[in-house]
Symmetry: C2
Subunit: 198 residues, 2 copies
Amino acid sequence: MPQGQPTVVPDDGLTTRQRRNRPLVFVHTGVGKGKSTAAFGLALRAWNQGWPIGVFQFVKSAKWRVGEERALRVLGDSGEGGTVAWHKMGEGWSWVQRDLAAGEEAAREGWEQVKRDLAAETYKLYVLDEFAYPMHWGWVDTDEVVSVLRDRPGTQHVVITGRNAPQQLVDFADLVTDMSKVKHPMDTGQKGQRGIEW
Amino acid sequence: MPQGQPTVVPDDGLTTRQRRNRPLVFVHTGVGKGKSTAAFGLALRAWNQGWPIGVFQFVKSAKWRVGEERALRVLGDSGEGGTVAWHKMGEGWSWVQRDLAAGEEAAREGWEQVKRDLAAETYKLYVLDEFAYPMHWGWVDTDEVVSVLRDRPGTQHVVITGRNAPQQLVDFADLVTDMSKVKHPMDTGQKGQRGIEW
């Protein structure tokens, strides 16, 4: 609940307006719930501003994100806000039984597409859902990710979600939230349910 | 990233299906970003299931939640998913310059409306946005909230957001996530920007 008063005013040669409109990199990490749901919540604000949104889903499951995907597609097609493009990476793999080679290749292809879109300034908000994993596993080079993000042109905001976000990324990002699990229904034997987990 | 395998199977006399479809109370608390955005992300899944959704906004600002409100209204009106009812509490107050008496009254009125809707089973998902504050401040009695939630009829899921969620609520809730701030742009002198903070 920001009160709008920064605690520091940096000597960076920028006006308040320039600083305010600086493109941002967000990281949602930690073992708790809400990393991706918060990223999609952020997409609602971007949509309301009429921004083109690119979602890159670095995860494959029949269930995951189906609600978010359908909602964002309906919003994108409504003509009342921004557009939404939804990219699914790694159609050939899943988290539960993953084929490492195929997963690695898919993640790299996804990242190559993100790089092309950043260079072309295709979107104004990028949701790189679960992208922390391929970095954590070494499938995508974190130093390269940081370098590409640092040099991206224009005003392009990027949200990266997933556990185990690499430290270089955390150091580079503008906003980092760690979602900690205090309590989860699975702790008391409850499995995921429709409408809640997907 | 739940793998679908609970670590405990409780001796509660319920089948897996009964336990799975148990109505849930979520709490998103902590000082980091993403508490409310994750709640609205959850609403996307509920919408996709065709559930009626009730949002109760226990906060007043010209800017806050405008993106989420417009997106959820468009979704609710699309006829392709669940319905969305958006209630704004406390029209007469704001966080920045708050009139305590008016805020307290508005919060109590809001809670009375929530109680009526829970009794009538009006919605299947309730987003009580920033409702932790009126409890923390003692405007609404936490013990009563827990009691009403415990006795609510049918299958009604409830998400409560806000810093300083009272311990009784945390103890009672099924799923609690603490959003911790690792880093925020305001730390480096950047103010909130359109499309990001609202």
